[in-house]
Symmetry: C2
Amino acid sequence: MNLKELSELLGLSQTTVSRALNGYPEVSEATRKKVMLAAKDHNYTPNTRARSLATGRSHAVGHVIPLSLEHEVVNPVFTDFLAGASEIYSRENYDMLISVVPVDQEAETYRKIASKGSVDGVIVHGPAINDPRIELLRRINMPFVVHGRSGGDDEDSYSWVDMNNTRAFERATRFLLDLGHRRIGLINGLEHMDFAAKRRAGYKRALAAYGIEEDPALCRAEEMTESYGYAATNALLDGPEPPTALLTSSIIPAFGARRALDERALVLGKDVSLIIHDDDLSYLRNGGKEPIYTATRSSVRQAGRMCAELLMQKIADPSTPVRHELLDADLIIGETTGPAPQS
Amino acid sequence: MNLKELSELLGLSQTTVSRALNGYPEVSEATRKKVMLAAKDHNYTPNTRARSLATGRSHAVGHVIPLSLEHEVVNPVFTDFLAGASEIYSRENYDMLISVVPVDQEAETYRKIASKGSVDGVIVHGPAINDPRIELLRRINMPFVVHGRSGGDDEDSYSWVDMNNTRAFERATRFLLDLGHRRIGLINGLEHMDFAAKRRAGYKRALAAYGIEEDPALCRAEEMTESYGYAATNALLDGPEPPTALLTSSIIPAFGARRALDERALVLGKDVSLIIHDDDLSYLRNGGKEPIYTATRSSVRQAGRMCAELLMQKIADPSTPVRHELLDADLIIGETTGPAPQS
DNA sequence: TTTTTTATCTAAAACGTTTACGCTGTTAAA
DNA sequence: TTTAACAGCGTAAACGTTTTAGATAAAAAA
């Protein structure tokens, strides 16, 4: 069923029917009702392709999700982020178009997407420090919102939704310091990524406040997998002066850390303390009412919702001023932290 | 830059330029070269919307990924599945359109997608037993491939890519039986899903071969989260006749099982054996060269590739006969299984 | 030489919407 | 009574492609 057929069926012009359906005022309420009813009855939905061509907008947003080259890892937080964003899109009747591409082809992909005209805007995932994609998107004049920030001084010049990574890790580190820990290992994500760099900065700042110099031997930075958590924990514990506490950048390496500790019969929260960052993933909940891991928690799903929200606004009215949403992480106390063991 | 401008610039008609770019034979090699070059120079890409409208095909495929209602969990294997499928799509220059929708709105979503005409085909995720979506898609004549099967007798009538769930779990259970285990717990996924039902069937069949009746008290079936693995393991171990071995349907509940066992100071592979099903997720690798968990392994990413492959064929030529790909899982031996403890 | 075929290109229709503009009749203002 | 405003609807153009049906000229066949 298309517009022409529907309008013939109703004895009206295509114009009137279209206007009735799209809520334009130049049509009487009586006819609008008739049209709406007929549309429902013959379940007519405007053809997206034709509508897009006519309006110049595709009613879709793009997500380019980077595939890390070395290990072919695609970040698992995306499922929850997309679930959050999707809530907003489906409310606004927008489509979500995603491409998973190796990081070295990202710029190319954005360019292509733009010239094909298949989306009205994009979400930038996993910004690196001084990420070139931002400059690119601005140049081709494509509305975008960044999940995270890109460091640099131009953070005011584009819209983003970020978590206060520095503050979260500063608080977590401080919490451990207050418990008497002095050697604290950091099992971080890749530090050319802005979020990881900021977390490290927070860690460093807390140490500095206690007059402690950051020890590079206690800091690791890799793709956040379970096996990385396992290997890094082992490596740190095998060092000359093993840490009494650990910070991991996600719950996933924490599983690896737990495995390593178990093998050594070290008890979490007693022999070694552990604080994780918890993205509140639906399939990896950190406990129920009571958290298991002591954690800095910030919902990535919520971030997804907010990014989508901001982008929708930007698309609806491109003159919308840029907006920044800085989410604060909660510090929640679980069973994996305790006073530093006396040695 | 659009077709009209490009053709005027070249002094040719739009027809000729279009044909040159799309590789039609009615154009001389000389002009084709010229056209190609000019297109590159002014980086012209045909507008997707216009092309779709003209050809009637959208060059996009849809993935409707179900959001479990009760717990709002979106299955984490999707990221890897999508990564696999995406490889194929980008090779064929197809777009991937995804919607995350609560299970009760799935049928509605498919219908909408079809009438909007925004995709040329869909992948069906997470089929339940006798899933109504299959009938629906057939009725509205939308090409589709199912990841998994839907039970029932009509499995021959549509294309699917599945893992041999029954066989995998039969082998795993047999392996435990051969090691002397007689009480084996099954920590399964939701059993109205076909994959989970088939896994249970395999488990049952192996037990039957040893003359053992399945004990419902040893079988759990829920959303496969870490906390579920933890709770289920605790419940089983607290039962009157605790199991000496466990099977989990994914690596994620296995993390929970490990946590529960650690708390009881039970050693994996000695006090309690554990076999998992391993989807070979990039961010949750089951060890490196040496596997950690004994597991039945089948790559969900590979399944993604194959589904996409099949769907592309079906779209290119709708008369393509249905195809079935049944992947066999490897049984890989890790450190979490050993002989049943004497009691 | 005339006819047929072939190679190369073009004009215009089609895809299904939205929307700028125009028309008619009715009501309100002058 | 005349003019203006307005509500309600229709006509036709536009969006940027692909594709059908021809057109022209050159080459081959008769």
